[in-house]
């Protein structure tokens, strides 16, 4: 288990968290290479199938990031995100995939927070071990 490197997927919204990730880059804030980013216009675009499909494909942990509540470019998209992610977190827990999905608000100014969020999440998933669906995904 010690050499387990988790595969992390992060969904970023176009307006805040993607820009936050950019800022982390511009500021040369180093963080683990385990993370991959998918950009969407608003975090409220993310739905259960994206999360489930990622898990099925063997992703060990998924971060959904968006603007802080009140900052949403689309007024209240992130409020929907919040509601949905709560449901999906519950569902994943019930399916035995506890703690593999995490929601975090990151503003465009929070490059440091982006770095810390990724670093902490990678550590958390590393401790949690591989996604049980991973071996099957690799087979394909």
């Amino acid at each position: 288990m010690s050499d387990f490197e988790p595969d992390i997927l992060t969904f970023c919204c176009n307006w805040c968290s993607y820009a936050g990730a950019d800022l982390a880059g511009v500021s040369r804030l180093q963080y683990p290479t385990n993370n991959r980013i998918i950009r969407v216009m608003c975090s409220s675009r993310i739905e259960p199938i994206h999360i489930l499909e990622a898990l099925k494909e063997g992703t060990d942990g998924i971060l959904v990031t968006g603007c802080h509540i009140g900052d949403c470019h689309y007024i209240e998209g992130n409020i929907h995100t919040d509601e949905r992610m709560k449901e999906i977190v519950d569902a994943l827990e019930h399916l035995g995939l506890k703690d593999r999905l995490h929601l975090e608000w990151v503003s465009a100014a929070e490059g440091k927070k982006f770095q810390e969020t990724i670093t902490d999440f990678v550590e958390k998933i590393r401790a949690l071990g591989p996604n049980p669906l991973k071996e099957k995904a690799k087979e394909e």
Partner: protein
């Protein structure tokens, strides 16, 4: 999954992707082996060419992209370089110049999201870059061309509310050569400013500066004033609003009336004039709103009219028509400015500071009418209980503001208003004791602090603290018990008259307008701007702007600035004659949609509705956030450019497992 077969588009044209990997000098190449990335990418399905550039965004780099599109017949272009936030527009323009739809361009960020954050892990960074580009290739294959659509804009504006903000907005738009419908619910334009006595910080007479402006509005050929009218329905979207306006009956032919006042003289019914004089003065059942009213026309208050017919006899022009009914107009406008004003906080229900219990506790607006030279007392300040001039007057600040029991916000103008009124009192009745009981005196902006200093110099007494207990003695004097928090003393202040500096609240009538327009509302009840800093007068609905008190409490100069700002923002659409709609929008597949309606309340922009058992999307209203499609259980809704298949292709190709 195995979606990545050679995917072909509708014309079953083969997908041909060109991938351009940017070294960005050493910015990327320093941590990522770009050649290895390019080699790997060239093995992926649909990839026709993969090239490494020193700087892809340079002229040379862009030329290489354009040539490759032509020479290799590329129909998708992928650039792996820096962030789309800065460079996407550049490359989109580049591919468009080469004849490719700009949405067939895919951007992969391997600088901010890879080389710069993994500067000392070349091997892992290269692997990550490969996987990032792999995701991009998977997505690029599924991209579809999109077009932003243009909608024509009707060259007319609607301004709702003819207070000082609305008048300014209307005049500015009209002066730029566009038709304006100025709709006012009251019988005259002018708004709250017409009721005021003087205005701070220069203490000029309010109606003296407002009156000419009102006349100017009335004389402007491009402005059509619709007084005593209300917005009934609004339909449509930017450039194409259909507005139904309700004209309330004045029971009088407005074209015949000259505002001479003969009818008012003869009218036997007299009631307190609440609407304008705050109930201090009186008016008749038939009356003209105030001497400077525009239009200067009479109207009948049918609720109190006794149908005696005296006015009909008195009117030489036969203008009075007691059978008048409400009428409606249908307007086509391209833009809408909302400047629907405010109400003052009503202290009556909670009996704040004894208001409503004791006669000699009044509000600022009542005071304004009392001290106004053309007011009901001809400017003589008297107290209600015995109509005698008060010698000790206190102002209580922040009534209905900065208070979690009423409104938590600061109403912003009340400190200055009280300072002004205190000064006026001191000027008019120098022997009067004037107190201002406050929490903080808030005096931002030019000459405001000086104004405060002047008040201090004039001998106005400031007590930092607000009455904890207010009682009345046998002389109907007000006893206010206050802790002065600067001296920590308890003061029992005996006052002849106490004025409550009531704050601003959003009126119910504005809420009705808001609901008709479907503009969102902030927690404080005022309408919500699109962005608190960058778009202070825009709303999230294209073509609808808010100014003045509609957006929140503010003073006259700020309101007028916002009126002008609204005009400038709105006129952009009118001047261009067209509006662009977002290219990335929601689309519905009608074969799949079952019209369950789950999506409708998701849309913050009211772009979705169910009509005749079908989902209707007003693309002009859609901003392309994707909230609705995530809620759609059938997948009938798709966000163009972020379709499920496009996102899932990325998800499925995130990790290559040993391939790279």
């Amino acid at each position: 999954m195995t979606e990545q077969e050679a995917i072909t588009n509708e014309e079953s044209e083969e997908v041909r992707i060109g991938a351009f990997i940017c070294e960005c000098g050493v910015n990327i190449a320093g941590a990522v082996d770009c050649n290895a990335v390019a080699d790997y990418i060239s093995t992926l399905p649909n990839v026709v060419t993969s090239v490494v550039n020193k700087y892809t965004c340079s002229d040379a780099g862009q030329a290489e992209i354009k040539n490759a599109i032509k020479d290799l017949n590329l129909n998708r272009v992928l650039v792996a370089s820096c962030t789309p936030k800065t460079h996407e527009p550049i490359f989109r323009a580049c591919v468009e110049e080469a004849g490719l739809n700009q949405y067939l361009f895919e951007f992969v960020n391997i600088r901010e999201h890879c080389s710069w954050i993994h500067m000392w892990e070349k091997e892992d960074a290269t692997k990550k870059a490969k996987e990032l580009v792999r995701m991009g290739v998977a997505r690029a294959a599924l991209l579809e061309p999109l077009q932003s659509s243009e909608v024509p804009v009707t060259d007319a504006a609607l301004v709702i509310g003819a207070g000082v903000t609305g008048m300014q907005a209307a005049m500015d738009i009209a002066d730029m050569g566009h038709k304006v419908y100025l709709v006012e619910q009251g019988p005259s334009i002018g708004g709250k400013m017409a009721q005021l006595d003087k205005t701070f910080p220069t203490n000029d007479c309010s109606i003296c500066i407002l009156g000419p402006k009102m006349v100017e509005v009335a004389r402007n050929e491009n402005i059509e004033i619709m007084s005593y009218s209300e917005i009934d329905e609004v339909d449509g979207y930017v450039g194409n609003f259909k507005v139904k306006v309700k004209h309330k009956p004045r029971y009088l032919n407005i074209d015949e009336c000259t505002g001479c006042g003969l009818c008012t003289e003869k009218c036997p019914v007299e009631v307190p004039y609440v609407e304008f004089d705050e109930g201090i003065g009186t008016r008749k059942a038939i009356y003209t709103p105030f001497p400077q009213a525009v239009p200067l026309r009479a109207l009948v208050d049918k609720s109190i009219c006794i149908d005696c017919g005296a006015c009909i006899k008195a009117c030489e022009r036969g203008a009075i028509d007691m059978d008048q009914q409400e009428t409606f107009s249908e307007l086509d406008v391209g833009v809408i400015v909302v400047s629907a004003g405010f109400d003052v906080y009503d202290p009556e229900p909670n009996h704040d500071f004894g208001f409503g219990l004791y006669d000699n506790v009044i509000t600022t607006m009542e005071f304004e009418r009392l001290i106004n030279a053309s007011g009901p007392t001809m400017g003589k300040v008297v107290r209600p209980s015995d109509v005698k001039p008060p010698k000790r007057i206190g102002f209580v600040q922040c009534v209905g503001s900065r208070d979690k029991n009423s409104n938590i916000y600061c109403s912003s103008f009340c400190c200055m208003a009280s300072l002004k009124n205190a000064q006026l009192l001191k000027e008019k009745y120098p022997d009067t004791e004037v107190y201002i009981m406050y929490m903080d005196m808030r005096t931002p902006f030019r000459m405001y602090e000086e104004f405060y200093n002047r008040a201090r110099d004039m001998g106005i007494r400031f007590i930092r603290g607000r009455p904890a207990e207010v009682t009345e003695n046998e002389d109907h004097n007000i006893i206010a018990r206050i802790e002065d928090t600067l001296t920590n003393e308890i003061v029992n202040l005996e006052l002849d008259l106490m004025v409550l500096s009531v704050g601003a609240v959003s009126p119910e009538s504005t809420e009705t307008v808001r609901q008709i327009l479907k503009v969102s509302r902030a927690a404080d009840g005022f309408m919500m701007e699109a962005h608190p800093k960058l778009k202070p007068v825009d709303t999230t609905l294209d073509g609808i702007f808010i100014g003045g008190m509609t957006q929140g409490p503010k003073d006259i100069p700020y309101s007028i600035s916002q009126g002008s700002a609204c005009a400038a923002r709105a006129t952009r659409f009118l001047a261009q004659g067209k509006a662009l709609t977002e290219g990335i929008t929601a689309k519905v597949d009608e074969d799949i949609c079952v019209a369950c309606g789950v999506c409708v309340p998701m849309c913050p922009f009211q772009a979705l509705s169910i009509e005749d058992d079908k989902l209707k999307i007003l693309t002009a209203l859609c901003k392309g956030c994707g909230t609705c499609m995530a809620a759609c259980p059938t997948g009938a809704l798709e966000q163009s450019h972020f379709k499920n298949e496009q996102l899932l292709a990325q998800v499925k190709n995130v990790f290559a497992y040993g391939e790279v």
